[in-house]
Every structure is written in C-alpha cells, then in structure tokens.
Subunit: 207 residues, 2 copies
Amino acid sequence: MSLVDGGLVEGGMAAPTRERILDGAWRLFVEQGFAGTTITQIEAAASLAAGSGSFYRHFRSKEDVLHAVVDREVERVDAERNVGPELSDTGGDVRVALAMEFQQRLRNLQRLDPLVRLVQQEREHLGGSRDYLGDLLVDRNVTVRSERFAAWMERGAIPKRDPEALATVLMCALVGYRMSSDYFDRPPGDTSEEAFITTLIDLVVGP
Amino acid sequence: MSLVDGGLVEGGMAAPTRERILDGAWRLFVEQGFAGTTITQIEAAASLAAGSGSFYRHFRSKEDVLHAVVDREVERVDAERNVGPELSDTGGDVRVALAMEFQQRLRNLQRLDPLVRLVQQEREHLGGSRDYLGDLLVDRNVTVRSERFAAWMERGAIPKRDPEALATVLMCALVGYRMSSDYFDRPPGDTSEEAFITTLIDLVVGP
DNA sequence: GTCTATACGAAGATAGAC
DNA sequence: GTCTATCTTCGTATAGAC
C-alpha cells in the first residue's frame, strides 16, 4: 500500500524528504510548469512547512531540483523501454503485429507527454538531458524498428523500401497524431485512433 | 523600406505605440516565453522608457497583450493560408505534385512553430484562440487535402483509400517530422527532408 | 501619451534557534 | 533536519507632473 500524499511507501517507512520533494516537484512542474511553481508549494507538497527554507537543505535552488526531476524521469523512461511483439508472437500476421506495435507506441507517447512538455518548456536549461531524451525517444526507436522492418522485407511480409526512412515516417506519423490530439484536445481531422492505425498499416503493407 | 527596430514603417511614418508594443512583445514572447518576459522589457523593445508604466496606457495587463499578440498572429496565419499546386499545374505528375505540397507544408509548419510553441506554453490562458488555431492548422488542412486525394483516387492517380484518414496520416507525419526536428535540433533518425518526403510519396502512390 | 517616482506583493534565498 | 523570521530582489501596477 502506498500513501504518496502522506509521504509513506510500502512497509510504512517514511519516504526520505529528498524523495518527497522530487515527487511533489514533478507533479507541480507537470501541472503548473516550472516558472509557475514556487518553492513554497514544493515544500508544502513535501509536507514541509510552507515558506520555511527547509527545501534548501536538500537542493541548492529551483533549477537544481528541475534537473534532478528531469533526470529521474528520463531514467525511468530508459528502464521501461520496450518494443512491440515479434512477428512470431502473432501467428505470422504482419497486420496484427503492426497494429499492436502502433497501439503500444501511442500509449507510450501519451505517458511520456508530461515529460516531453516539461523539457520543451525549459529547453534552455536542460541541454544534456534533452539530447539524451531525443536519443531515447526517437533515434533508438527508429533503429530498432528499421531493423525489424528490414527483416520483414527480406521475408516478403511487406514491400521492400528504405527501412530506416520507413521507420522514421511511421514514428513521425504517430508522434504527430499524439501531439495534435494532446495539443487540441481532440484527434486531428476527427480521425479515430483505430482508423488512423488501420490506414497506417494499409500504407505499409500495401493493397 | 521598413525599419522595424526604429519603429518606422513604409513611408517614414512612426508606427503607433500600440503596434510597436505588439511587435516587441511578440518577439520577446517567442525568445523568452510569456513568463520569462517582463513589462519593462516590452517597454524597452517598444522604445518606451524602461520601468515607466507607459505600457499600461495601451494594454491593461501582460495577459491582455498576450491575447492581442496571439490573435494578431492567428489572423496572419489565416490570411496566408494556401494549398499546394493543382495536379494540372505539374503536367499531371502526381509524384511532383505531392512533393511540392509536402515541401510547402513543411516550410509552413516551420514558420508557424513559434506561434504553436507560445500557444502551447500558455494554453490555459488561450482557450478560444487555441481552438481556432487547431481548426486552422489541422482540420481545414485535412479537409482540403482529403477532397483533393478523393479526386485523384477517382482518376486512378493514386490507389483508393479512405481519403480523410489518408490526409490525416500524411499531415501527422509532416507535423511529427517538423516537431521532432525542432525539438531535438536534428531530423529524426537522421532522415533528411528529401528522403522523408520520397518515402512518404512512395507510401501514398504505391510501387 | 510619456515621463519620474513609488507602492505593493510575490518569490528566492539565508540566519540562527531548537 | 526542521522550524520561525527575515532579507533582498524583482516585477506588476499606480499616482501625478509635464
């Protein structure tokens, strides 16, 4: 049982203050942005007296905790990295394998949206973390998918094309769909996720 | 001849203070964000005395000028709206028509990036403008393109598919490519714009 | 309409007792 | 490590002369 608000974790042990500060700062930064969040709010969220400088016993400044928060989240992304099912897991049906992969990617993108937004907002202050996040979110995904597509092309499961460019196009389409949906609070062109994925698969597999 | 910095416009007439404030605020908001920009900076950019409240003779608050700036930019987007060349303009070559259209869309997206970012940053304060921008940037584009695709499908120029879903997928791919490039300061998967567009065309037209 | 001067509040950060 | 209390800086906004 986990009582995050009370600062307790499984087993009833009180979470270290530093962790509580990171948890609270992360939530507040996501909800209000970095500039919109005050040290006082972070202290309150960490069950410290609001307005006391207790925060400063654990972090040197507001920017300091921003870096710590972002780095922790980027590490989590790294740890949770996963790819879609192998073709063999879906009875050799390439359409099913693609559908599962695209759905999973859209879910992942949605989950990562708060982090992406925060990093975007504070891009000037987050040079290194931003580079690493780009590598994690984009390049490694393209690499892994393009290798898979190349294998499928060899087997004749999908038409032959430049596998890296294909992987890039598909990833960009999914990124664009998710960002448009988040940005405008509705799917682009009123195209449902299902119709979007179906069309994407048709384009990849061919008629 | 236009001397924006000096507050002059064609003809040598001094631009009204209100316009100079809008120009300066727009530039500063793009460079530093809304929260990161001070009234004092806006005044200086408009050639008013820094720290004097002269700003307040023209706008009631910082939020007020934000709305005015965003609305002005959205109106400009609306005025500049344009679509790619007709099929007949390219000698009936659908690949050429698509290439020109995609290139133009990528250029447009790049030009609109500052506005999109600003609206994203201050989304809470910009409800109405945001809805309208979504309509302008996404839905109208999808509508216009899907009608065109439907006509091309009738003529047998491209394979038959759901034209609206196809237009959505393509627009999302371009949005994702541009946003990834801007976000990480490099194209995703190190795929050049040319290779990206070529692959996109191959997917649409078929082998 | 623009200036000088300033009131007011908010937020980051520190000092020192416990 | 946490508290009370406070310092300092900065930014919004206003008052009133010109």
